[in-house]
Symmetry: C2
Subunit: 397 residues, 2 copies
């Protein structure tokens, strides 16, 4: 069991703010600045180059990977941290394509996060344009899984709608036709229990700055199923994926298992923040988290619907078909979200008309949900968003 009033106390949140955007950028864990200062002063400052050995910097990508691995149901020793999610998607895709040399199609859906699609486009270009990135509607993915496919590249939880794909089902279908699976867990890791191991995922990757709360631009992670760990060829064959990085050999030899998915020097300072963020997660039971997330999102959906019928719920209502965010559609969504933010309810907007709210039990409770509903009701019903101030678009929306 997890005591969520205890986890809430572990975050530094501005007073009077209802932060429903932890699905975009998680808040600051209270312990993170001290952990960072320790990494800077006691490790970097005092140990200097010796930190690679004395502070264990070199091993952190795997150690932290395993702590994330617990949250996503990965077998120990098969998850590693580094780079950005786009880079990790690229590595997974390139490995899949190489493992299915006679197949030419990568399947994804129109709800996938664009960077995943861009990386696939770029890879296909590099491979000579002989492959096809086939995009179908999210609801059509299952039927589109055919023997043409090298791999499916699917984000489990849709960044706009919060709709959740059925990982075990799609994975089983992909395997039945001989295709591999890549699961992007950007909106899953820390949002709900994931079972990459039991679910049969071949590759999975995600970021750590959303539900995992490791800070803006925190590094990504990648999981490779044990059965592929020694076979998946690393596309970005950097020295830290080499079997013996410090032998400085002239030719690349892939490292053991997940190590080969490492590329360059680990981002030690960013890993210190991730370390502190994962300390919070080490106290969390994922089943309890899910229960609380569903209780709060049910309450939020019902409350907002009752308060403002003009907001169309686009997130599926069925529990097993959604993640931990709730999205609504409204033609004035952009201005409405600005008006909400001005009143201390922070969600975000995704073009063309989606208002997104992340519900994160680690620091959001029932009182927050109820207060958010009241404020959303007032902003929508009294058209408080109808002011030029709220219509000015900022650079990053």
């Amino acid at each position: 069991m997890t005591d969520f009033s205890a986890t809430r106390a572990l975050f530094d949140l501005p007073p009077d703010l209802i932060y429903l955007d932890g699905n975009s950028l998680g808040p600051l864990p209270k312990a993170a600045p001290a952990r960072m200062e320790q990494a800077m002063r006691e490790e970097w400052g005092a140990m200097l180059i010796g930190g690679w050995n004395k502070a264990g910097w070199m091993e952190q990508p795997r150690a932290l990977g395993d702590r994330i691995g617990r949250l996503i149901g990965a077998e120990p020793g098969h998850t590693v941290v580094g780079d950005t999610l786009s880079i990790k998607v690229f590595q997974a895709l390139a490995a899949c394509v190489e493992m299915r040399p006679d197949r030419r199609v990568i399947l994804s859906d129109t709800g996938n996060f664009p960077s995943d699609l861009y990386m696939a486009e770029g890879l296909i270009r590099m491979l000579g344009g002989r492959h096809e990135l086939r995009l179908v509607d999210p609801e059509a993915v299952e039927d589109a899984i055919t023997e043409e496919l090298a791999a499916i590249l699917i984000t489990e939880v849709d960044y706009r709608t919060g709709r959740r794909h059925d990982m075990p089902r799609l994975t089983a279908k992909a395997h039945a036709v001989g295709a591999l699976t890549i699961w992007d867990l950007a909106h899953s890791a820390g949002a709900l229990p994931v079972e990459v191991g039991r679910g049969g995922a071949d590759f999975a990757c995600g970021c750590t700055y959303k539900y995992l709360n490791a800070g803006p631009g925190a590094p990504a992670f990648i999981y490779v199923a044990p059965r592929h760990a020694g076979r998946a060829v690393p596309a970005l064959s950097g020295w830290l994926g080499h079997r013996a990085p410090f032998a400085f050999e002239p030719s690349y030899r892939a490292g053991d298992g997940i190590d080969r998915m490492r590329v360059g020097t680990p981002p030690v300072l960013a890993l210190a923040a991730l370390d502190a963020a994962l300390d919070v997660w080490d106290t969390v039971d994922m089943a309890t988290l899910r229960q609380e997330s569903l209780r709060l999102t049910d309450r939020f959906i019902a409350g907002v619907e009752a308060a403002c019928p003009e907001l169309e719920v686009v997130t599926p209502r069925e529990h097993d078909r959604r993640g931990s965010q709730v999205s609504f559609r409204h033609p004035e969504g952009y201005a409405a979200m600005q008006a909400l933010i001005a009143r201390g309810v922070v969600g975000d907007f995704r073009a063309p008309d989606i208002m997104r709210f992340g519900v994160t039990p680690l620091f959001i409770d029932e009182a927050d949900i109820d207060r958010a509903i009241t404020i959303i009701g007032a902003v929508m019903n009294e058209r408080l968003y109808d002011a030029p101030l709220y219509r000015t678009r900022s650079a990053v929306t």
Copy 2:
């Protein structure tokens, strides 16, 4: 002019340590922990998702890129920070190969840092194995520049020997035969004045954790010459290299100029440390730095040679043929370096027999050099390294 006693005061160095390893990992700038705490508490903690706009996180990779750009002679607006050096080398290589579709050879030398070679190997593999990575001895590079080449991939200053290639000369020769140039500045940026613009470099990249002192695993940078900025196709086409990242378009459109070399979400916390590290550099005149570096390295070479004739100098003596490190060869190099470290003289060892010392005027002065010479003399002449303790290899050497 630069006052190096003033810059020295800007670093937090352990007392009684002569740190001659700033060419591997620079020391902690005193201002960095406070800058980091500000980024964590005042930006991430207080602004949360609003930090992307309010704190300008999204623009930092270019702003910091330009501050590095001054140190390497780049035209403003053509350097960007992100990822690791291996990733940036990959991007530069992929762009070159695409710009020279009728050419099949990438030239590098056996003194290059292995990760650069590994990334080239991996790229060639992905491109179908039709290209060749041709390795020649460093001294043979110039003669090996022929019309077969798509690009030369050269690290300006050799990580083991400190030997420096002649960038303008090799670049001119490459251009004369229609080849492009990629300069790895890992051991150049912050070590000596570099002129990528006037020198004609097509692409350049480097890391920020060595001479630039931005911390362990700090992000890399890449420069693309203005004449290629709008034509170089980005190999790793992530969303932040897109022309309109927040339009979430289904297909990739390369961003303007250097922006297209961005891949994923910027590492904001790591950038805060880099920002503080570059504050020191903003006070430094590169010509003065070089003058002082040469004065100190000359003194170091002469002193060590006089004190211990058995240490063979492998760094070229001519000023224009070396960077800011001095390397010696000795069969007992590993143990000798451990013995030196135990006595407060920190350099490092590179297999099979190289003892490396970085001479970094920002925080190393004449008194340090003289004391280091005395200790090196004692360790070598009295064979103080001849103890089992010093022969045990650590994981990271």
